[in-house]
Amino acid sequence: MHSLSFDIAHLFAGGLVLVSFMLLYQDRLYALLNVFALQAFVLVLSVAWQAFVQQAPHLYITAAIALILKAIVIPGALHRIVARLGIHREVETVGGIGSTMLAGIGLVALSMVVMLRATPGADPLAREDLAFALSVVLLGLLMMVTRRNAVSQVVGFMSIENGLILAGTGAKGMPLVVEISIAFSVLVAFIIIGIFLFRIRERFDTVDSRALDNFRGERT
């Protein structure tokens, strides 16, 4: 592995982690969706670079699917959902943004410690991609935990999936069938989540997930 290709892969994967932090940092829904589209775009660049480095042409198809579906279709659809729900200003976080950031840094450090210990013999590129992918996944989970708004929880879910694709492409290419099936299952999940959003909205007049707790009687 000569160093420049490694450095560029490092750049894109590190950029993906950085964009995940930017997702955690946003406090407006439209800005959140734009950053999510940016994350998908960085993922596309990263996957395309992996395809070039590994000489695996089917990864270009993965990149194309990610570009169309995740960078264009899903953010656009979320934009329309947010516009129709009329909630573009409300993102409520559990705890402050600062403490969420610190927790995120802790998660990144954790994923690096775990991955670097667990995969000593693997290819450097794959190791680094796995470490970054695990941190993107954990940051997506953190985002789902720390947001009360259902739309931003959806964004957290989608960014977890971005992390999975990064992991899959880093480990010597993902079979195309798996990639397509994941893409379609995410699309289906997205449609179901969208329908649920509107159902929650109809039932409770809000998409704040605290309303569900009230309904179940878990909070007085």
Partner: protein
């Protein structure tokens, strides 16, 4: 003979820093005014201001202690030393063994400590507000700065500025995310430390937002001149720090001849102009931030610094 030449070059650097600092401040003001389609004062205006303040009588509050009078000299000398330690046009100067990034950070931290003390010394309410806000900013800016220093030190294997610049110049650093993150974080810290616009605006006296200015309200005459000059020096220090670490081109190596040194001075001037222009451009495009949002801004800088260190750890350990 060589020692005398080295001493002379170090002296030139100290004088250059001192003479250029007000010009940089004036340049930033001029560019800002031009970007707002105003004419703006001349670049030499800060020199005239300093000269005017120097000649004026010092008016002291009755209950000002000796500390209040000593602090301007302390702040000025510490900032000057720090600014003169950062390599401007040449690396490997006579005192470069002491040009340690941690030492520079510590010098700046102690000036901030003394300035906050001075703000509280006379006992007016504005001084207290300014000091408390300054310390709040410091609690986040200093760890961010230290994380940046760690990132650079891990990469170059040294915290000495001269060897850092030399490392960046000679060895194939490659494309590194950590360096980019460190650069962004350093710019954010520099903006906060110098009280530039999203954080603070020293050009106004608006009590809701002022930080740096509130601490200086009781100063007058030559004391105020010294503190203003120290603020200019601090701005110059950060610009030359960014220039020396991230854009080290044109720095003359130790023991270079006169023409190389002159090229170094020219490159330094270009870097200062570019830095000043970018700062002015940035300041005209953003709005002033609420004081309560400052921790988020600096928290982002701290986060970038931490992330830079972590990413570097991954790329190095492979």
């Amino acid at each position: 003979m060589a020692v005398i030449a080295d001493l002379a070059i170090q002296g030139i650097q100290m004088l250059l820093v001192l003479c250029l600092a007000p010009a940089l401040t004036g340049f930033v003001r001029k560019v800002k005014a031009r970007l707002l389609r105003r004419r703006g004062p001349s670049i030499l205006q800060p020199y005239r201001d300093l000269w005017r303040l120097m000649r004026k009588e010092v008016v002291l509050a009755e209950n000002a202690s000796w500390l209040f009078r000593a602090i301007p000299y302390l702040i000025f000398s510490a900032t000057w030393v720090a600014a003169a330690l950062v390599p401007t046009f040449a690396t490997g100067l006579l005192f470069s063994w002491s040009a340690d990034l941690i030492a520079v950070t510590a010098l700046l931290g102690s000036t901030r400590f003394f300035l906050a003390l001075a703000g509280m010394d006379v006992g007016t309410s504005f001084g207290g507000i300014g000091s408390s806000r300054e310390v709040m900013i410091a609690t986040l800016a200093e760890p961010a700065m230290i994380m940046i220093v760690f990132t650079l030190a891990l990469l170059a294997g040294s915290t000495q500025l001269s060897s850092l610049a030399g490392f960046m110049l000679t060895s194939p650093v490659g494309l590194r995310v950590s360096l980019g993150l460190a650069l962004i974080a350093l710019v954010m810290v520099a903006v906060a430390e110098n009280g530039r616009i999203p954080i603070d605006n020293p050009a106004t006296h608006l009590e809701l937002t002022m930080v740096h200015e509130a601490m200086l309200l009781e100063y007058s005459g030559r004391h105020l001149a010294l503190i203003e000059l120290a603020a200019s020096l601090k701005l110059l220090l950060y610009v030359s720090l960014i220039g020396c670490v991230f854009l080290p081109w044109g720095l003359s190596p130790p023991g270079a001849d006169v023409s190389t040194r002159l090229v170094g001075v020219g490159a330094y001037g270009l870097k200062l102009a570019a830095g000043g222009f970018l700062l002015a451009f940035f300041e005209t495009t953003v709005a002033k931030m609420r004081v309560f949002r400052v921790p988020e801004f600096l928290g982002a800088a701290l986060m970038l610094g931490l992330l830079g260190t972590l990413l570097l750890f991954v790329s190095r350990s492979l």
